[in-house]
């Protein structure tokens, strides 16, 4: 264990782990995540996703609507 100035923990790799219960394994997850935060959430009322089921439902709705993408 080493320590450098700035006090920032480094506890793992850059890969997104199973924090979204498998949704993050989908190849277009990052596009969905970006769309959700920038478009979908506001259209849905602005509240956070409350669980796995809601997250998958919003993802499936995004797929059905044509995978709208948000520019970086």
């Amino acid at each position: 264990m080493s320590r450098e100035p700035g006090g920032r923990f480094r506890g793992g790799g850059q890969a997104r782990r199973d924090r979204w219960f498998g949704l993050e394994e989908r190849p277009d997850f990052e596009a969905f995540r970006r769309w959700w935060h920038r478009v979908g959430k506001e259209e849905a009322g602005g509240r956070d996703l409350e669980g796995r089921e809601q997250a998958f439902a919003e993802y499936e709705a995004w797929i059905t609507s044509g995978r709208n993408r948000v520019r970086s």
């Binding site: 100035p5 700035g6 793992g12 790799g13 850059q14 782990r17 509240r47 956070d48 409350e50």
Partner: protein, 176 residues
């Protein structure tokens, strides 16, 4: 050409829809809303929709101090239940998440907030101000791990693997 000047401090905070529209269309307005005005909205609003729009606007601006301001807002208990997009904005800025804010989100956050917060842990982008702060956070996480909320407990156990004394971790460079 006459350029219209607008006093953004006179925005009606009750006009949630109007302010959100301005924040989301920030580049299409003359004059554009400045970062300090957006930060003022982020700091003072009680609307989670306004906070989301303000955080995204700050991420788009990439203004100096924006990440620190978002990180501070994420320390507030009342913000935690609707914190997912603030965390996303912080991620867009490439910044780290303050440890106190991280603990706050794990304790009081939504499914989405915890997922976004744990992303910072996985990416090695949790920042803290010293050993005392870290010890306080580890104690809070240990209590959370033994608590009644199963989702918060699971997230806290994951965090403790990285953050508790003796864990295999390094401390990386400064935040932006």
């Amino acid at each position: 050409m006459v350029v219209a000047h607008r006093d953004w401090t006179r925005l009606d905070p009750r006009d949630e829809e109007g302010v959100i529209a301005l924040l989301r269309d920030r580049h299409g307005r003359t004059p554009p809303m400045e970062a300090r005005e957006i930060e003022r909205i982020l700091d003072t609003t009680t609307s989670f929709r306004l906070r989301n729009a303000a955080a995204l606007a700050l991420a788009d601006l990439g203004a100096a101090g924006a990440a620190a301001r978002i990180g501070q807002v994420l320390e507030r208990p009342e913000v935690a239940p609707q914190s997912g997009t603030l965390l996303f904005a912080l991620d867009e800025l490439g910044a780290s998440l303050p440890l106190d804010s991280f603990v706050n989100i794990l304790r009081r956050g939504s499914f989405e907030g915890r997922a976004e917060a744990l992303h910072f842990l996985d990416a090695g982008r949790i920042s803290e101000s010293g050993p005392e702060a870290r010890a306080r956070a580890v104690a809070a996480l240990a209590a959370l791990a033994a608590g009644a909320d199963p989702e918060a407990a699971e997230a806290a156990r994951d965090a403790l693997i990285v953050l508790r004394p003796g864990a295999d971790m390094t401390m990386a460079g400064t935040d932006r």
